[in-house]
Each structure stands twice: as C-alpha cells, then as structure tokens.
Symmetry: C2
C-alpha cells in the first residue's frame, strides 16, 4: 500500500491504481454473496474444491475470487484454506443472525449505480442525472427494495434509538415514524413500550413491508399506517415523539427546516424529534462512511447532503426546537440527533 | 474503519459497506481526472469556488467530489482548502512529469469493465465471458489503447529492466521485445546501449505506437518491427535478449512453457529472457496489487493468471532455461524475472 507519510515512506502510485480498480471490490463481494461463498467458508473445510462444489463453480474462479476477497479484507487465508474474518463471520455468513448481505440488493440498484457512469456531468450540474427529484421522486420503487433489504443494516440502530426516545417516557405514548421504510425504528419503540401506539408514514407499497415486520414483531395492533409523502399528508397527532430516520439527507436545508416546522407542530409540548443520520465531522472528510455519504446524495438527489451536526442543529433551531443533541451510535457510522421543544 | 483484530477492536460492518460502495471510488477518481480537478488543486488556492470555476462545474458538485477524494486518500484538506498529497502531486497533476492519469483510459475500457457485471457467471465458468480468447483475441484493439495510455505507468519500470538486461552486456546486441505495446522497454535498451538493435513484436496497429515512441526517443533507426502474434510469427534472431513484459499472465502454464521454448530457440547461447510481471507471493494474497491482478486475468482471459515466482521459475525450467531469478522493482508492484540459458 502506498503511504503518503511525509516521514519518508517511499512514494508509489499504488493509491491511484487501487482507487481506479476499486470497482472490482464491489463486483467481487457481490459475486461472492450471489455464489453463497460465505456460507461455504463458514461450513468449512475452506479449501478451493469444497467451496467450488458448494457454489457450483469452477475451481479457477473460486480460487481467484477468494484470494481477491482476502486482499479486500473480507476473508482470511491460512495454510491455503479460506476462513472467516470476525467481520465476515458476523456480517456476511447467512447463518449469522447479524448477516446483512441483503443490503447488496439495495446498494446495487441501477438507479443508485448508474448515475456514477455520468459522475463528471453530475459534478458539473451539481445534481443527479436521474429524472425529477431523483431517488426521492414520488412513489420511487427503490424504497420498497430499501425496506426489504436494508433492515439488517438498520436493525442494530433501532435499540439505541428506542432507548434514547423512551428515556424518561413511560406509559401511553404516540409515535410518528416518518419515512418508516422497513418500520424497524417505530416497531422497536412499540416493543420496548407496550403502551406505545406507532404511526408509520411512507408510500403505500413501502408501508406494506413495515406492516409485515410489525406483524412478525407482534405489534401490528399498535401499528397504524399513514400512506403518502411526508410533505403532503397531514401528520395528525399530537405525538410524543417523531422519528426522522435516513430522511433529511435527501433534501436541501430550506426543505428540511420546513419539514421540521411541520414536525414541531405535530408534537406535544414535551415531545421530541429523533433524527438518525450519517453525520460527518465539521471538516466534512471524517469519519469515512458519513463523509463519503454526501457522494450518494450528489448522485441520487437534486440538493441532498450529509449534514454536519452544526447544520442539523441550526435547522432544528430555525424550526423552533429549543435544543438538539448529538448521540453517535457506538460501532456504527450513524448518529442520533435528539431535539426537544 | 473496521478492524478485525482479535485483540478486541470493536466489530463493525464497515469493511462490508466500504467494499460494496468501492465502485464509487473508481467513478470519483475518473470524474476528477476528466474535470481536471488535480491541475486546479495544484495551481491553488484550493477553495471550492476556484476549483469549480476551473472545472466549469457546480460548487456543490466540486465540494462533494473533493471531500470524497480526501476520504479516498487522493487529496488533503486543510482549513477548508484542498491540496495535493505527495501521491496526487506526483501521479495525478497533469503538470507533473510522472503524471499517469492517462491510465484511466485503458482501465476504463468497456472490455475490461463490463465483464465485472457478470462476475458470478465468470466464476462459475472459470473464464471470461468476452468472446473468443478475451482480451488476447487476435488484433484486439484494446492493446492500441494500452500502448497509448499505459506508458506513464510502465515508464518507471523501463530503467530497472534495461539495467538488469544490460548488466555485463556491451557492444552490438540484438533484442526482441515481445508484445512491445508502447515499446518503452526495448526503446530504453536502445537508449542505454547505442549499439543495440531492437525488434518490436506486436500487432501492427500497436507497433505504430511503439514506432512513434522510438522516433521521439531518437532510436527509430535501430527499431525494427515484427508485426503479428508471438505464437505465429517467426522470431528470427538469434537474440542476445528477449523481453516478455506484461505478457505471460494472459495464458495458461502450458502455453507459457511452449512460448518460452520458442523464446529459448531464438536466443544466442549466452542470451537471456527478461519477463516483467505482477508476481504475488506464494500465499497468492500478498502484496495487494500483484495478488489482486489475477482477478483481471479471470475476467478478461480464458486461462491467464498472476503467477508466483515458483510457477514462473518452473515454466522457465521446463522450457530449458538453466536459471531464473526474481528482481522486485522497488516502489512498484512489478517484478523482473531474469532467465539464463
């Protein structure tokens, strides 16, 4: 690997070459998931022949693919056999309860991939080349796929979000989950508080996924559906808490402020708004995942962004909230912003 | 960043997410080269507005692109302004004599990119989905682009290769450069030894690029052309040295052995064969660039590979060479294998 340390590490073009070839990593991980390689590795013995048999694939192909996954940090190789890293065991083996391989389906959607073929044009124009409002165009079917496949990545955030929202709130409460998607955040609150009544707001085909998840969690009797756009439907209420998860980043600051005003108007006087976001540091280049996320907003929306806490805090202030506090979720790239009236 | 250290670093899915999104890095670097961002950064002052003006691009697009390049290790950001890393200054700024941004043209060719859209199928079959012999199908025009755009990446290898070949060889000599491409390796020998006569072998449209480079270097009078396939044309000779640069990896072991036999027959009794290759360690998963290169051979050929030194050594032995020695080129992912009769 190249190092640009000024302390004298020799200069090489490796970082250039590796970035130009980085697309191969995406393809390799996707192919390995499709071929069920991570299950085969978990079952052992991890030699090329047995993985190839499991995957109904050639030994040449499996050997080169698995070696590549080792280079990419997604497997280990010991004495010529492949085995899991702690990460691949936890997050890529389908036999793991925390496996999130399904996220490949959402992240590989043509609507999210294809704009990158025109990135120079997008940078020139400053907005997505997708039609209309891009990924947030009304009734865009990608959000059904999001609801169906991104749950395993978002599930670990539900516990921390529920805990923060429910802190100091007991007994009957009403919760509005805006852009509910898979519904896991509202459902978590319903699970933690048996007297919570949750309303999921999203486009109707997406809400069907949320409702199915509510059924599985046994909270469907306390799960109401409000189909439509967060900008158009009446929220009803008043609510004790409104959840805004993975949503504000799709829009410009003014649109966020207007939406937060609408949220505030739907809250009880002691209500709260809980936002889950990728929140980069003020330098906008760290930590890597939240900082890089603004690229996804550039390519898929007209004016969205990964907002810093300062920006999110100012949006809430302008919408009439008294305080906003940041709660980074440990071992995740996400941050919860809690706003009080 | 995720760490899978068993010493207790918390486990996160970052490595999974970052590999699934790695294609964005390729697109970002490509767009930045296309928009001439690295020249703008080199000229300063490095603020978003001036880079956007230079690139005729939106400020939103440039800010998000440049932040992304910082995350990818391709720029630095200090006090809100972008500036070069040592690597980007040397290898991406067009005003640098060692700039190799042109390699994006070869590495982005649809013939090399598109197979990755079918990687699971390729792994199943164990060979490229490109027609015929893939990238080495007769007269494949991609090698004209290789000759035209990959020179700046290969140029730093020419000096070390020339030095090793010329060690102990003075005076009149004949050199055959197989799959000459840009011709830089044979040309370097002609430059270092004014009595060297070089024959470049490649398909005719490729040799035109080599000849033009020979003209620029002022050695065209000692540069002969042998158009055709290395497997079909008579090499002539006898030669003092035969160069085999970036070539053997396209073929299976038996094909390489047969070719090396043909090379040996064309050499003088004290002649040598000099091979330039990506040579991974025996574990096949290190160093990263040579090890990962076998993936490019899987996707673009029927049976090529990144061979280990043990494999290359054995090929040479079977072809009748007495010795083969490995010479890794410092600060590069390449290794020279020198074989003597």
């Amino acid at each position: 690997m190249a190092s640009d340390s000024p302390s004298g590490t020799p200069l090489t073009p490796s970082v250039v070459f590796e970035n130009l070839q980085a697309f191969q990593r995406t393809a390799a991980l996707k192919a390995a998931i499709e071929l069920d390689v991570f299950r085969a590795v978990g079952q052992g013995p991890g030699d090329v022949a047995s993985i190839a048999m499991h995957a109904s694939a050639s030994e040449r192909g499996i050997r080169i693919l698995c070696d590549f996954l080792v280079v990419a940090g997604l497997l280990e190789k010991v004495d010529g056999r492949y085995r899991h890293t702690p990460s691949s065991a936890a997050f890529l083996d389908p036999s793991s309860p925390t496996c999130l391989a399904s996220i490949v389906r959402f992240l590989s959607l043509p609507e999210l991939r294809e704009p990158f073929e025109h990135l120079a044009d997008i940078v020139r124009k400053g907005r997505t080349v997708l039609p209309g409002a891009g990924s947030v165009e009304a009734e865009n079917p990608i959000w059904v796929e999001f609801a169906q496949s991104m749950g395993p990545m978002m599930a670990p955030m539900a516990g921390p979000l529920g805990a923060i929202v429910l802190e100091g709130r007991r007994g009957p409460m009403r919760v509005l989950d805006i852009a509910a998607g898979h519904g896991l955040f509202g459902i978590e609150i319903a699970k933690q508080n048996p007297q919570a009544q949750v309303t999921g707001l999203d486009w109707a085909p997406v809400l069907r996924v949320a409702l199915e998840n509510a059924r599985r969690a046994g909270v469907q009797d306390r799960y109401d559906m409000l189909p439509g756009s967060a900008f158009d439907v009446e929220f009803g209420g008043p609510y004790d808490a409104v959840l805004l998860t993975n949503f504000l980043h799709h829009f410009d600051v003014e649109t966020c402020v207007e939406l937060l005003k609408k949220v505030r108007r739907s809250l009880k006087p002691d209500g709260c708004a809980a936002t889950l976001e990728f929140v980069p540091n003020e330098d906008r280049v760290s930590p890597p995942i939240p900082a890089a996320f603004s690229m996804t907003m550039l390519t898929s929306t007209t004016a969205g962004d990964a907002y810093t806490f300062r920006e999110l805090s100012e949006m809430h202030r302008r919408a009439g909230f008294r305080t906003a506090t940041a709660h980074p979720i440990p071992r995740s790239p996400h941050t919860i912003v809690m706003a009080q009236m």
